[in-house]
Point group: C2
Chain length 210, copies 2
């Protein structure tokens, strides 16, 4: 199977990248120059009209949206054990958590990184940036309480939720948020960072955790 | 199996509600008084710390996030044919579309309905409300082009993406957006509205399409 992951260093595409390495998949990386606006080019928009990463190009076509790419990788390489495929309820909990990261946590970061996506004007941008820390604190407090109960997000087994969460924890650290408020999150990140697939993905993207 | 769906009339919980009826599931409805702030009560937050609908309470615990609830329903009642369960690639496309509705389309509506979630102050709220129509047009134009190619969102078969899209199309109509810009979307909504499960859910929630 020929696979190409369109990514930007450290973007949420990093979750798909780590998952491909955890799965032992054979894939190519294609860096998208977000700062240069390559995601808005006609060539890229023909693959993803929304102009975002990640995008996974396969022989059957393109797949977008991080939680969907993660679900497909988990199902296509079942031996990697990235999701509880035999238990629909447990699998739905993985999807639920990943969707929470995508539609609440990532969006809170987006109001900080790209406020112009939601409103025009400097004042609105400043108001969104001012609100984001409070929202992020609410969202990560919920996560911290949840993972406090187990080794990994969903308990005993490492899943796509763990590698996806690491990407969001990294963003939280990089925006200067005080991570000491979330002790379970810190220990989760430390544990996740020891995985060879995570380290290989960071190295390939030329990024560090902090 | 004992199931209770926590919902608010016409909210995105409507997608889970329709899916339960499509599946022929036996379930109870529990209305959450969003205007009265019931979602912020201690009782409700013990079920969903984020204080949102939908929430599906089952004998195994609670499940949140619309795309995850839809995936669980599709997998638990396979005979309803709500998702291509035997084809991981096609299934991932359903997840991808549902995630697009959740993390892009729903969020665009949220900046219109609940701008205070993203920023404080009347000016920021006004700026977000001013921007939303342009974003919604971009997002629904992408959808209109996609469904233009088939009877349903993903082609020949009705899936959870279709009933979830109907909920978003209804919101688009109710905010006064000109639906005539999206001919495939209009015909999709008309077709979806003929389904008995959709009609029963609308009646049970006491809502109409327009």
């Amino acid at each position: 199977m020929s696979l190409k992951l369109f990514y930007a260093p450290g973007a949420c595409s990093l979750a798909a990248h780590i998952a491909l390495r955890e799965a032992g998949a054979d894939f190519e990386l294609a860096r998208v120059d977000l700062a240069g606006g390559e995601q808005h080019s006609e060539a890229y928009r023909s693959l993803n009209p929304l102009g975002r990463v990640p995008l996974l190009a396969t022989e059957r076509g393109s797949l977008t949206e991080a939680p969907a790419i993660l679900a497909w990788i988990a199902q296509t390489w079942p031996e990697a054990g990235l999701a509880p495929l035999d238990d629909p309820w447990a699998l739905a909990q993985v999807l639920s958590f990943n969707n929470y990261l995508s539609s609440s946590v990532h969006i809170a970061f987006a109001t900080l990184f790209r406020p112009q996506r939601f409103a025009d004007g400097d004042e609105a941008a400043a108001a969104m940036k001012a609100k984001a820390p409070e929202t992020l604190d609410q969202l990560f407090t919920i996560i911290d309480r949840k993972i406090g109960r187990g080794s990994w997000v969903h308990g005993a087994d490492y899943t796509t939720s763990d590698l996806y969460l690491l990407v969001m924890t990294r963003w939280l650290k990089r925006v200067g948020h005080d991570l000491n408020r979330y002790p379970a999150l810190i220990s989760h990140a430390e544990r996740t960072l020891t995985r060879p697939a995570v380290q290989a993905a960071f190295e390939a993207e030329g990024i560090r955790f902090a």
